[in-house]
């Protein structure tokens, strides 16, 4: 997996590169829009992390150019403007995802992973992790043969986590996909739901599946 990071702020570009490299991505970095277009023309990237505010040609213009060239490469937009409408504007211009600054690194990595693996998403109707199964048609969850009662929200949260097993899911990403919130509510809603879910699926069972990574997010995996 090869990713292009377009960010003029050198320090930000540097830690984004490190974080993505740590997750096994090959990372190229550009500091302006024209270089990014040139790089995207010559190298087949699997995804682009694109800052909107760039010197010279800005991110949205780079994105439009890419889409005019009929490129379908997944693009994650970054922005410090944080306008509510900017997300819509960016998605309309052809972006696949949008993340306002300051973002959480885990969030960014999770999103890039989701973008680059979109086609490989687990599409089966019964999701499994150890002896936990979740039927996405009947919305039934079972662990060790015992039925687990889930509310609608808990079901969506569990489905989201089980669709990306072993991968870190950031708090904002969960709020966006499970709650459909486009804002940071500043509450511990996700933590409280995770705690309840943990009581239902983990309390009486081994191994523990639901893990919290302090300051980063949550993940569902068999081995701790």
């Amino acid at each position: 997996m090869r990713v292009l990071v377009v960010e003029d702020e050198k320090k930000t570009a540097s830690f984004v590169r490190k974080a993505l490299q740590a997750e096994g991505f090959a990372v190229d970095v550009c500091h302006n829009g024209d270089d990014a277009l040139a790089a995207a023309r010559t190298t087949p990237f699997d995804g682009i992390v694109l800052d909107i505010m760039l010197p010279g040609r800005d991110g949205l213009s780079v994105l439009r150019q890419l889409r005019e060239r009929k490129s379908t490469i997944p693009v994650l937009l970054l922005s410090a403007r944080g306008e509510v409408n900017e997300r819509v504007e960016g998605l309309n211009a052809g972006a696949d995802d949008y993340l306002p600054k300051p973002f959480e690194l885990a969030e960014l990595v999770a999103r890039v992973r989701a973008l680059t693996r979109r086609s490989g998403e687990n599409k089966s109707t019964v999701l499994r992790a150890a002896d936990l199964t979740l039927d996405t048609v009947t919305h039934r969850a079972q662990r060790g043969g015992a039925e687990i009662e889930l509310t609608a929200r808990e079901y969506r949260l569990l489905e989201f986590l089980m669709r990306s097993p072993g991968r870190l899911c950031g708090r904002m990403m969960i709020l966006e996909k499970v709650w459909d919130y486009d804002f940071d509510p500043g509450t511990n809603l996700v933590d409280v739901y995770i705690r309840r879910l943990r009581e239902k699926i983990d309390a009486n069972f081994e191994p523990k599946l639901l893990h919290t990574v302090r300051g980063a997010g949550y993940l569902l995996k068999e081995q701790p």
């Binding site: 403007r81 509510v84 973002f103 509450t187």
Partner: protein, 370 residues
């Protein structure tokens, strides 16, 4: 022309015309008529006394005929002129009453006739322009400041998060870095809130307005509120939830509901209660969220919507937040043409009431009684 000049000219003109008419009539009556009379009836002789008597009556008549209309014209015309000149005062007063920090870009209507009031309006508009300018500068400053803060914040958060992943950290160091990151994220939320409010003040946030089933959002929010309240042993109930459609921005309305529910839980007593309800009241949708919290002291109540206002910190020692929640709530409500009020009886009930205009009242009534 100034009002003073107009009035002076009017009175001068009335006086001039009246005196001219009087002069002509007197000349005719005193000089011409006796001569004519003498020529036509030379045989008659009048005593001096009779002539004087005649002339006195004639002159009195002429003076009356000129003076009365002149007085009436002066009064009527003066009254009309003053009324016309002072008419802008009413609209000026009305417009000045409406001016607040949010409509400084509006200008008072000018008559354009150059009188004292027009000049006053001009000066007033100039003052508004200067105020508008300085308010805009403050807003732009907040906006630029929050933008400028975002880049270093991104770097700080990113570097701290990278440090947190370093597995060579001892548990104590790890805890310290994690706590640092929590505070950085709080700072990031404050900056986010500031940006949103600065943009809202400048009218730069466009809402995506569409018909929204408010009752569905309330039910959804009720479920989240129950979950949020559970760890504190707080009971949440939904007393009423009528089917109501409003015109609004789904995301912002959900933000509003979550914020209010979160507050109702946060500012509550352990084992307390939260009661939510959504009802139709006339042509408004009325949402109330009441909690059994310690209440808000009356002197704090008018200021709860102020940005970063925290009231008596002794009342909320454990509550953290960005200090902008209710300001954002207030903005969302007013952006939907709604109103929000908070009433509180200390150590009893605190109730937040939000009212939104219903969408197409008539259509809903038809649906209800076909």
């Amino acid at each position: 022309m100034t009002i003073r000049t107009r009035l002076s000219l009017w009175y001068a003109a009335v006086m001039f015309v009246a005196l001219m008419v009087m002069g002509v009539l007197l000349y005719y009556q005193i000089i011409i008529e006796p001569r004519e009379h003498a020529r036509r009836h030379p045989e008659r002789h009048h005593t001096e006394q009779a002539i004087e008597q005649d002339m006195f009556e004639d002159v009195t008549g002429i003076v009356m005929w000129c003076a009365v209309p002149a007085v009436l014209l002066s009064i009527g015309g003066g009254w009309w002129l003053m009324k016309k000149s002072l008419a802008p005062v009413a609209s000026l007063t009305q417009a000045a009453e409406k001016i607040s920090a949010y409509n400084l870009s509006e200008r008072l209507p000018r008559t354009g006739n150059g009188d004292e009031l027009d000049r006053l309006t001009e000066v007033f508009n100039g003052m508004l322009a200067r105020l508008d300018d300085s308010f805009n500068r403050t807003r732009e400053f907040t906006l630029h400041a929050s933008h400028e803060l975002k880049t270093p914040l991104t770097v700080l958060c990113g570097e701290t998060e990278t440090a947190l992943r370093d597995e060579s950290l001892s548990p104590a160091e790890h805890e310290r870095v994690a706590s640092l990151l929590d505070e950085l994220r709080r700072l990031a939320r404050i900056v986010d809130g500031l940006t949103l409010l600065a943009k809202a003040d400048a009218g730069q946030v466009a809402l995506k307005l569409e018909p929204v089933r408010l009752d569905e959002l309330v039910r959804d929010n009720f479920a989240d509120a129950q979950i949020l309240a559970e760890p504190h042993g707080i009971q949440v109930e939904l007393a009423a939830c009528e089917e109501i459609t409003v015109r609004g921005d789904r995301h912002r309305l959900r933000q509003l509901l979550l914020n209010l529910a979160d507050n109702a839980v946060k500012y509550n007593q352990p084992q307390g209660r939260v009661t939510m309800s959504l009802r139709r009241n006339g042509d408004t949708a009325e949402l109330t969220i009441a909690n059994s919290g310690p209440g808000i002291p009356p002197e704090v109540l008018p200021r709860v919507f102020d940005r970063f206002y925290r009231g008596d910190s002794a009342h909320s020692p454990t509550v953290d937040g960005c200090g902008l929640g209710l300001s954002i709530v207030q903005w969302i409500v007013s952006a939907h043409n709604g109103t929000i009020t908070i009433t509180s009886e200390p150590s009893k009930l605190t109730t937040v009431t939000v009212r939104f205009p219903l969408l197409e009242v008539r259509q809903q009534m038809k649906k209800k009684n076909p």
